[in-house]
Amino acid sequence: MSRRHFLHTALGLGGLATLPAWSGIARPGPARVVVVGGGYGGATAAKYLRLWSDHGIEVTLVEPSAALVSCPLSNLVLGGSQTLADITLGYDALVARHGVRLIRDRVSALEPERRRVRLGSGDTLAYDRLVLAPGVDLIWDELPGMARPGAHDAVLHAWKAGPQTAALRAQLQAMPDGGICAITVPRLPYRCPPGPYERACQVAHYFARHKPRSKVLVLDANADVTSKGALFKQVWAERYPGIVEYRPRHAVLDVDAATRRVQFEFEPELQADVLNLIPPMRAGQLAVQAGLATHQGRWCEVDFLSFESSVASGIHILGDAIQSAPGMPKSGHMANQQAKVCAAAIVAALAGQDINPQPLYNNACYSFVSDRDAMHVVSVHRYDAARKTMTASPLGLSSAPSELEGRHALTWARHIWSDTLG
């Protein structure tokens, strides 16, 4: 589709003068899409909206951070084989190569009835379509101990890559040999199901080299390892015996951050030297505040043909914030894939074309078990028109971690960064 086509359709409005004002149709100029959130989902959507509209749609990306710090590979920063600089990615190409307009700000409120968003600066941005990729919000209010002053400096989540990742690395480095690092895992669903277990491997890898008398305790609210379970357990038994200990059914009740004591629903409390608390999550705050998190007040239900909200016309929601279809993990790769479906649907809808009725895409997720070796899980996801959801193929898993897959995992990262931002 050409830019001229967009302009032509934009100006050919004679017959539509009687349409209601909310339709937004009687406005000349290029179609405008505002994308909120520059993670894997939002950045990919912004890029592909430009590409697939032949630069005919005006795309504004609103993101407060100067760069994307990748959650994938961020556990390697804890293990010591990557730095934060290695996984920090700029938005330059989105702007320079693809003509995305980048605004470094937050969206403070949605005003859907006026089809605009309000920015932290007070300015407003009008849109024809809105894409929200707000990621996850960490739920702390069920843990009274985390409301005490200084609690968030002592007890880290490091579940959004960035300063917390560096701070957790520093805590591990400062911990004396013989200490205990406890990692708590929330009940599903949460961002990156295998992430906590990969993190346990990375901390164990660091301990094995530098603090061999130390231990990693994985305290899991779930009844079993939620992803790549047999593989992770084999890795812990064979590579990190006496270092990693896995304990299922440990749902955190509260913490005392000052002493790093954790209380559980059913099990006795324990004390750690480094307490890495990965709390329950919900859709990013903006989506929850706007009433879009219709599933248990936590996740946003969407139409899987377009990622349009089930309750808000013209608002599309991507990535970790959505109520996932069965077998669909909350992963950066999945957000990248969803963003392309969403971008294609918006481009088609704005041009009056049919939306692809058969979305078909995949997930690939590598976990590093050391500084070199990795293992994967992959799946294919296709639309089920009868049930209006996505169905997942059986999972494809590594037979064992390998150095070859470690190289593939690093290639995957470079390539998906390029696909998302380049």
Binding site: T9, A10, G12, L16, T18, L19, P20, S23, G24, I25, Y48, W52, R115, D128, D303, L305, S306, E308, S309, S313, G314, N336, Q337, K340, V341, A344, A348, A349, L350, A351, G352, Q353, D354, I355, N356, P357, Q358, P359, L360, Y361, N362, A364, H376, V378, V380, H381, S393, P394, G396, L397, R407, H408, T411, R414, H415, I416, W417, S418, D419, G422
Partner: protein, 116 residues
């Protein structure tokens, strides 16, 4: 929810239908029975470029090479051999299980028509 009650004018052929639908307050124009095969193949192929692209330039290691400009028949043959378990791989022998042969053909055909 109004799927195609979009805020942008449709091409002339659809415009009246969209306008009528909006004015009548209809919830939806319905799901199309089929999509444009070109945009559908493009969408399916875009799922591959998360891994397969030219990010590394000439340095691209084995696997995850860019697919644009590939020979259609050679690519399809390779995909079908992955699917049949005749070509060892780490993930492609698994991912291809999730695709119909016709879908793999459409994807190979799409990439073969792209500039490398």
């Amino acid at each position: 929810m109004t799927r195609l009650a979009h805020s942008w004018p449709a091409p002339a052929g659809r415009r009246l239908q969209v306008a009528l639908t909006l004015m009548l307050g209809s919830a939806s124009l319905g799901i199309p029975a089929h999509a444009d095969p070109n945009t559908q193949a493009r969408a399916w192929a875009a799922a591959c470029t998360g891994c397969h692209n030219g990010a590394d330039g000439a340095e691209t290691p084995a696997g995850m090479k860019p697919l644009a400009g590939a020979n259609r028949d050679a690519m399809l043959d390779k995909l079908l051999r992955f699917k049949a378990g005749q070509l060892p791989a780490t993930v492609m022998q698994q991912l291809t299980q999730g695709y119909e042969d016709a879908e793999l053909r459409a994807i190979a055909d799409y990439f073969s028509r792209q500039q490398p």
